[in-house]
Symmetry: C2
Subunit: 166 residues, 2 copies
Amino acid sequence: MASGQGSAEGMPPVARALDAAEARCLRAGAQLTELRRQVLALVLESEQPLGAYALLDKLKAKRPGAAPPTVYRALDFLLEQGLIHKVERLNAFIGCVEVGHAHGHDHHHAHPHQFLICRECGMTLELSDHAVAHALEEAVARAGFRMSRATVEVEGLCAACAGGAS
Amino acid sequence: MASGQGSAEGMPPVARALDAAEARCLRAGAQLTELRRQVLALVLESEQPLGAYALLDKLKAKRPGAAPPTVYRALDFLLEQGLIHKVERLNAFIGCVEVGHAHGHDHHHAHPHQFLICRECGMTLELSDHAVAHALEEAVARAGFRMSRATVEVEGLCAACAGGAS
DNA sequence: GTGCTACCGTTATATAGTAACGGACTGCCC
DNA sequence: GGGCAGTCCGTTACTATATAACGGTAGCAC
């Protein structure tokens, strides 16, 4: 396997996600190169969404010559493969929680998802709420639109931060 | 009235919207100054969402000294008053369709809304679908979040563009 | 070999957004 | 009237985000 381990048991979450990404790219006929893998690892290691330039800074530790196009090209690839998402409100990128889950069919990319962003602590949570997705599909169809991708992002207070200060 | 006309009948839509905006600001105790009015007019005159710098270019016709802060300050004000929305996916601004509608109570700002963006022709449609808003509220609450603002933007094909090319 | 493609390094530039300072004006209090 | 605070806006400079364009290299088909 990609991480050189025989099984997913006991592996750190990031390594497991990288293996899942590797497998997914293989199936899709896409190449998860070393650069892309490094960028994906950096995104996954971060708890919070990471801006492209923050990513670039981190990347420079391993790849001194890295420049904006280096990260953006990798990010574009990862977005296309559905391995990460972009949080539009933050101009930042975050790992997709669905990668590595078992699926009956390949959803190529762009599964329905929603982000909850805490304006206090910055924590960002990904939901995959079916009811929201369904309601949105209906509304879009009623308007005569054909949907290809949806961005649903909520800014607010997470449970912890809402508890502290009203 | 602000536009110097006695009634809304027969007025061009933009002028009517400007009057509504004026009234709304009055009620809110906010000042719709000449600059802010000009920026709002430019946003309303455009069929499609307008970027801040596109706006700036247009504004320079009337206000040669205009600079980025000129537009951004006006846009911030208009956003706060709920007179325009920002389309995050496009980094662009568009007039709010709800202004001028009759409301039983003042919703200060931020009514629930969704954008449908045609990737072919760029047309952007604002919805105010209650089912979507409701589903989202429920999902957010289940996650223990307190929502303050939501961004819902769908990229796809409008009826016209979907009809032409499958 | 030649030609093609994908990937990436590199430089430069475009686009989006803010910080910070100062001047003009208004309203208010005394 | 003088002083004071608040709002609005002009102006300069700057930060942050993203892309264009060119060139090199490695792999592969023929």
